[in-house]
Structures are given as C-alpha cells and as structure tokens.
Symmetry: C2
Subunit: 386 residues, 2 copies
C-alpha cells in the first residue's frame, strides 16, 4: 500500500441544528474540507453514519450526500459501526486510496440526532448493543456503561470523584474549540453534584449528543508537499479490531481488548511506541471509557487509569499525554457517527499547530481512537506531521 | 492493486425464516463459504445489510456477525447502500484484499425482512429513496418504480405484456436453483392477470422479499491454483457509480447512468467488451429494471430493452445473453442487503459449472450488477474463470 496524506479538513459546530437538514450539515463539512484541500473533484465518498435510518428515515447516505455536494457519478458508500462509524469510514477511504484504486477520497462523518424526542434517541442508540441478549433485558446504552463503571469501581477501589479529572480536562479544553458543543468550565464540586443518569454515571460523566459533521480529503502522500507553516500530515498507523458484541460474553468486561489489539497494530504499522504519541484523542463517551482506553493502550496499569487524571498527566499544559485536547466527546460533543471523524480532524489541527490556546506544543504525532458499542468495535489511527 | 480470487461461496435458501435469527442465517452462509474455501481464520469481515436497524433493532452488524462466527478480534464493518449493500460490501472487501492490507476476507450479505408486518417493511424499504423530497409526497418504493415504468411504456410504445419474458425467464431458471424462494413456472396469461401492486407494476413484475444470506471468501489470486473441475475464479472488473438520489433530479429518468458508468469502468478494468460476457446477473427488482439495465450496459438501444426478452435472447438455452440464470431477484428472491452477494455467488456457481440443469454452457466470464435505490447507486462486477 502507498502512504496516504490528509490534505484537507472541515467540520461544523456541534449543536442542535434544528434549522439545518442532515445533508446541509454534511455538505458544510464536506465543502470546508474540499476548499481546505483545494481539490476539485474527489473521486469517491465514504460516509460514516449510525442513526440516519432510525432518526431521519434515510438510508443510502453515501449517494445521498454525493448528490448534495455535486459528486455526480462518483463512487459513494456508507459505513456503519455504531459510534465507531466515523473512523470506520475513514479507514475504508484510507485503504481505497492506499490501494491505488482511488486518487482523491472525501470522507464525511455525519449525524443528526436532535430531530427526535430523547426517548427515541435513547432507543436508537441502544441498537449498538446486542438486541437479542442485552436490549431484551430492557437496558439502555448508558445503563450498560454504568454496569461497567460500577464493577470497575468495586474491583479497583475508586470512588466517583476520582473520575472527575477526565471531565474537567475535557471541558477546560473545549473552551478553546469554537466547534465544541459545550464551553463551560466545570469544577469538582459540580461534577459530584450533577444529576444522576444511571448510577454511578451522572450527567458530567456522560457526553452530550448533538448534530454535526466532520470531513477530510485523503490523497496519496506523494502528491503532497510540506509547505511553510503547514506540514504534510500522513496516516502512519491504522487498525480496526473487534470484541464480542455483548459485554456478558467477554472474559474480562473491564478490559478493552479491541483497543489493545488495534493500538498495538497501529503502533507497529507507524513504527512508534506508545511513548512517542504526543497527544491522544480518545473516546470518552463516558468517563469510565477514558480510564479503560488509557489502560488498554498501555498508558496505565490495569485498574489505574484514573491515576493519570489525578496526577495531571492528561492536561495540555504539562501533562505527559494530553487527551481530549479539543474537548473530547464529553465537551466537544458526541454526534455519534461523526465523532470518529471529529477526532481525526482535531488530530490534524493539532499537528498543523492551528489550535491557538488549546495547542499541544510541538505536537508531531497524534493518535485517535473511536469506539463502537461498549468496546465491540475499536479503531485506532496514528497521524504524523512531516 | 493485486488480483483477487473468490475462493469459497455459501448461501442460504431464501424464505420466511421465522425459526432463525439474523445471526443464524448470516452464520449459515458464512460457515458454508469458509468450509468451501477451506480457510481457517478470515482476517476481516465485510457485511452488507440495509434494514437491520429498522427491522431488527440491531446496528453494528459487522462486529455482531464476526462475534457469532467466532472471528474474535478480527476487523469487521458494515456497508450500506440500500439494495446495493451486498455488492458494496463485496467491493470494500475486494479493495482491502487487493491493497495488501488483508489476506483473507469474508464478505456476507444478509437481510431478515419477514419479522415485521408488510407495511413496516414497505416503510423501511422506502428509506432507499429521498426522505425529504420523494417520501415526503407519500410515495412508496414500488410507486417510484411504477412511475418510471409507466413513462417508459408511454415514451417507447411498449405494452405491459412485452415485459413478461423477463419474469417468465426468471421463474423458469429458478426451477433449477435449490436456494431460490420461488419454484413456480409462470405463463404469459398468469403474468397478465396477476394482482396489481402499483400500476403498471403487478405482482409478477415485482420481486419478492425474503430472509437470506450469501457469502464469499476473498484471497489474493496468487494464492489460488486452478484444480481439475474447479477453475480459479478471479474478480476481473469492479466499479461503483452513483446518480442523483431522487428520480426527479435526473435529466433522463429512463436511463440508468450509474449502470452505464459502472459497466463501462468494469469492462475496461476487465479488458473485455460487452460481447465477451457469457451471462449477466442483473438487478430485476422490477421488470422495468431489466430493460433499463440491458440498455445502459450496451445490450440494447435506448427504449429497446424488452426486445431482448421477446426475441428469446435472455434464455439460458440459446440466448445471446442469458440473464438471471439462477432466478434473478424475481424468483430467486430479493433479501435486499443480501441480493448483491447472491448475484456474486451465482456467478461463481456458473463459472464453476455447478448449476446442473440451469448451467450456462461454457461460461467463462460472468457479470453481476446490483442497484441501490431506483438507480442511485449501481455496482458492476465481472468475474472470470481461469
């Protein structure tokens, strides 16, 4: 396979976009990426989306968006892997360009979630879990994550407040991201007193949904030159791995084995060690997921993920491994099928040095990890500035 | 890209499988393909499916099926392009193997449609069309196709009975396919007197839905040798193209431009002309689609598609271009997201010479064409026996 570069990026503000349709927000991100890349006619479109059939009554989103952005006749397809749909679409676009089949690919992650009532969205999100054996019990998706968090706290002796640094860090970082859904700094006191959602997960452990789209243009790296003030951004590592769909089928429900697998493959492909990663956009859909992701990727011993937050190792300023540098799912927001693409776009922003007060100084290698379901599908990508 | 071979195939009977779950029928086809290929651990799974979120309440079908068939840790993803989902998944698996990223890929097309009432299925199928501008008018998917057929009959002067040979041929061929949903020969009289669905489309113009799954194993061609009685089957041509999602946006709603584009690219890639194709598994969801597909692929002049049927050119015995040799969508059945994979499996069966009384004599090059929506996404694949 030939090396692939991210030539352009685009994203919309994550919000309740009641005045815009799904195709409009997808188009906004796509046109921004096309303009940023200064390309004219991408040959193929890869769309990541989870909920459009259920919430928008719309399938065939590849062609639907290709039509809207004027990519007539182009190849187009939709990829779905629950909340991992964004990175899954990115990986298919990456392989298509790396293979030589496609010269210029547009990848768009898009989700429009706020057009329906909350209980409808909760039911739609639950389709990420096992319908026959998990949902059959009446559990919701946040409920599944709550069971994991409760067990983790019991096994390893953490209290709820120990997870606070993950959310506080994410909210602090989102202050400098104009595309983020939330711009409120939060305190430990607020974290502890927030409304309960599903014990022990409260509102400030959980990421907000939203409407949004993020997009990139992928081209063969050989066609891109570094320019002054704008390095060439290459995809150095890409891997996808799976675990059982139902949590109860896992030997160890407190270990993200698909994060372990995909991160190790990505490190190997990129020729780096975990210590070489300058920052990490992880999938903090719930605060417990931050801890589990850090452990599986080799940054903390089993059961010790929260320690990194408590020791200030995850902050942009002074931390050994800044995470969620643009706000993470927690504060940038979690438009589910778009989230993996927001992470990629944010890694590119950091590697270009475009993050202003939220910039990770000297960032050269960034990692993004996108999770579908409660650890069932996990994709890890490593990007390098050259 | 390196050449890719289809090493194994598997399929289930298409029926109302009320006694089996989606994962069970997917597993049945997958295990059959794995056994046929005599491989042990496919590295990656590509699933084509359209309706599982809407009918089964299940998303993330890549991982869901990988888990069921024991592909723990393997990469897995779902691809959706409405009724073109099967071939779209095949093409993603093909590119992944061709690129060198994957050595052994399992591709499964699966659909479970009969668990809900007919009006729910009709509503779910309509998500292939444009929700904002077509469905908003209250039209169904068959309704859209009926508008196309009515206009075609008006423009080119055909009467309804002129489309009968497409259905009669499909039903006759399905008699020799044990996996087909229907095994009833039909006559012109039955065709003309069948119940109306949406004028002018009656029950015998329309393909039946059903539950089913079809699967293949893809490997690099260099790893496969021809054996006595079992040639090596290579993917010689693969292309995907799109048109506008809504029919009213097309300059000419009676021409499948995405079939034209994707067939021309596939001919070029395979280094063949249309006259080299020994048989053609086309997407006869409705009889009008057979005519339009034959025209767009270069086998008939504009407006003259029905002529091929009337002149007996589409039959297995004696026709210049046998079509729907295993029954087509019309009689083999149309489990929507699985259909494109059934077509690929059937092409392989013909090229291997495994079709018994339904065999196309001396078949060396076969073509399959899968359509998403009413012509919005069209994939064409050409396979060769070597």
């Amino acid at each position: 396979m030939r090396p692939v570069a991210v030539l352009g990026i685009g994203q919309t503000v994550i919000d309740e976009h009641w005045d815009k349709s799904l195709r409009e927000i997808a188009g906004e991100a796509a046109f921004a990426a096309i303009q940023d890349a200064a390309v004219e006619h991408p040959e193929a479109l890869f769309v990541g989306n989870m909920l459009s059939p259920l919430i928008g009554g719309q399938n065939q989103l590849g062609t639907f968006i290709a039509d809207w952005v004027g990519m007539w006749r182009a190849e187009a397809v939709k990829i779905e892997a629950a909340c991992g749909s964004g990175a899954a679409a990115f990986r298919q676009g990456l392989i298509a360009v790396a293979s030589g089949e496609i010269e210029t690919a547009l990848v768009v992650g898009v989700e429009k979630m706020t057009d329906k009532a909350g209980h409808d969205v909760t039911a739609a999100l639950a389709t990420a879990a096992d319908a026959d054996y998990e949902l059959e019990q009446g559990i919701s998706f946040v409920g599944l994550n709550a069971l994991i968090m409760r067990r983790y706290m019991y096994e390893f002796g953490w209290k709820h407040a120990d997870f606070a640094p993950f959310s506080i860090n994410a909210h602090a970082n989102a202050m400098h991201n104009p595309y983020a859904r939330l711009h409120d700094k939060i305190t430990l006191d607020q974290f502890e007193k927030s409304s309960m959602v599903a014990t022990p997960i409260n509102l400030l452990d959980a990421s907000p949904i939203g409407d949004g789209a993020a997009a990139v243009i992928l081209v063969p790296a050989e066609k891109v030159s570094s320019m002054p003030g704008r390095p060439r951004i290459c995809v150095a590592g890409s891997a996808s791995a799976t675990d059982t769909i139902a949590i109860h089928s896992r030997k160890d429900p407190l270990f993200l084995s698909a994060a372990y697998q995909s991160s190790r493959r990505a490190y190997e492909m990129a020729g780096v060690g975990r210590e070489d990663i300058d920052f990490f956009e992880l999938h903090d859909a719930f605060s417990i997921m931050s801890a589990l992701s850090l452990e599986a990727c080799g940054y903390a011993e089993r059961g010790q993920g929260p320690r990194l937050g408590l020791d200030n190792e995850i902050r942009i300023n002074g931390g050994k491994l800044p995470i969620c540098t643009r706000g993470g799912l927690k504060a940038r927001g979690h438009p589910v099928g778009a989230t993996g693409m927001y992470q990629i776009v944010e890694v590119v922003q950091q590697l270009r040095g475009e993050c202003g007060r939220g910039q990770v100084d000297g960032a050269r290698i960034g990692m993004a990890q996108n999770i579908g379901g409660s650890g069932a599908t996990i994709l890890t990508h490593i990007l390098k500035a050259e």
